[in-house]
Subunit: 333 residues, 2 copies
Amino acid sequence: MRPTMRDVARHAGVSLKTVSRVVNGEVGVRPDTAEKVNDAISALGFRRNDIARALRGGKRTRSLGLVIKDVANPFYSQIARGVEEVARLHDLFVISGCSDEDPARERHLIRSLCERRVDGLLVVPSAADHRYLIPELNMGTAAVFMDRPPEEAIRADVVLIDNVGGARSAVEHLIAHGHRRIACLADLPGIFTARERRRGYDEALQAHGIPVDESLVRLGPHDVAGAEAATAELLALGDPPTAVFAGNNRLTIGALRAIQAAGTRTALVGFDDFELADMLATPVTVVAHYPAEMGRRAAELLCRRMNGEDLPPQRVLLPTRLIVRGSGESPPI
Amino acid sequence: MRPTMRDVARHAGVSLKTVSRVVNGEVGVRPDTAEKVNDAISALGFRRNDIARALRGGKRTRSLGLVIKDVANPFYSQIARGVEEVARLHDLFVISGCSDEDPARERHLIRSLCERRVDGLLVVPSAADHRYLIPELNMGTAAVFMDRPPEEAIRADVVLIDNVGGARSAVEHLIAHGHRRIACLADLPGIFTARERRRGYDEALQAHGIPVDESLVRLGPHDVAGAEAATAELLALGDPPTAVFAGNNRLTIGALRAIQAAGTRTALVGFDDFELADMLATPVTVVAHYPAEMGRRAAELLCRRMNGEDLPPQRVLLPTRLIVRGSGESPPI
DNA sequence: CACTAAGACGACAACGTTGTCATCTCATCC
DNA sequence: GGATGAGATGACAACGTTGTCGTCTTAGTG
């Protein structure tokens, strides 16, 4: 179906190798020969076969694998965007797959990507054992992890958000506005970022001599409805919190709903910025971070590895920024 | 670096072909031989090289190319998600690239994807000439377009949203609530979906015997700020509109801002649903559609083509749904 | 004119796999 | 006991490209 260099060569009356030279812009071809070849290429609609090229070269497929939870989720799609930007600069293609947080699927994806001989791997790891990756890494496939670190045993670069610092800044913001009874909505404790953010909450309170009141901490709400219910419960306490720190954007929305429903002036700071946070009835104060930057940094690290740089494993911590919009500045009642 | 089947064969004391048989689960290998081979595979950490496989097979790379404007944009990332779901079912990988609406980049992407011998192409075309694709299509690369049709000259499947019908339903909803002076915010007229939605607006008015008042139509606002300014201008008219139809979600947000700022009770229906539309101070009535479904349908069509089905070019029109939330039901003043 | 060297071009092997076909080993059967 | 055939295994070519090296042409030199 598709013509090969051999077909082009026949059509132009030259050898296969001469076509290769023209296609690759190598020197040592007379201009008139090159023209004949180019004419044949246009006439036949020839496209160099990168599959054969990668095989013959034996080295690079000029592609990298990206394993995320779900492209439809803005957090991950922004990561993907950052990765794609860097890949473009290096003339690489991104082959991506969604793990949907399923360890088996993640493993299958990574395995398939290795079989396709991607030059490198960018992974947001699910909470599972990643030791199966070690042979792949030893075999020379570079890998960089994002958002969550893999097991100790895996020596690879990681790019993380400063979860602890970001959470601390949120809670300190509330403390600075006079709050002492501050609730914490954290996601499932199996999730790395949830644990880290919860740790930031604890650290902020301790740093200001406020004892952690476990009755104000809710581990486990994982979606908007769960967070709404948990917040409603907190607000119904005899001695309710005057402020809420929500560990991610879904929890923030849930908390917001409950607070609106309760009609209180409870202060709220959420982790993760989200679109329209400034357009809501009460604009939401958030700890913002930059997923695209995470993708970029990870991809850059990966490219350095792919180019053979041999640094010790890097651990990059990306800063967060508190965006003050209103919901976090209500005084305690 | 990475072991090949030849290495495995040597290690197991069998022939290359026997390893191939074991790896591919072919029949005709004694269990004990298979075990020796599997042991060697584990010992060496062998991974079949899909590059070589694709070359030898000559046929399928089991991958498809996806060209969209920008993964970070929720509309496109949901398309990507739909595509990925179908790809997963067919054991295909998705290689994606962002065109950023740059025709040159789009062309480069498509060309590179063809050089990688993707089995099929899914494209949201930019407003440009796509005739360069014709040779690729003739050469047997299947292609399906999404969201916007390519030129007449290109015979390929297209999956579109029912832009005209959706816009008409929005405007008819406003008419049903008693509005006669309905403004229209449309994006740049170079954009296919903007033209179509504008057409739906016209058709709805005409169907109800309401003359189109060009002074209420704004072509050109392309972002939130532009829509906000345009809407402010409309509201400041001596005889302002009592309702606004906004042609996409950015324009809807802009219109909403202007209406809030003006403090009027102007009704608003927007094309495109968006997250938190129900959480805003005034929940927004929208014409919703399902980008992930578009990705799925397009990918399914593509897979049928890739499997050799030879139908005439299909044109799929996906329905929209009006979601009533409040902003579209204010009566005229 | 003979000799040299650079420049242009081609022949061939190799990348790692799989399809085709040949060979080899046994158990079975008359 | 030899013929038969099924089952297991291997040798080899081919996929489309590029690296290596050899050959041929031609311009330049003495």
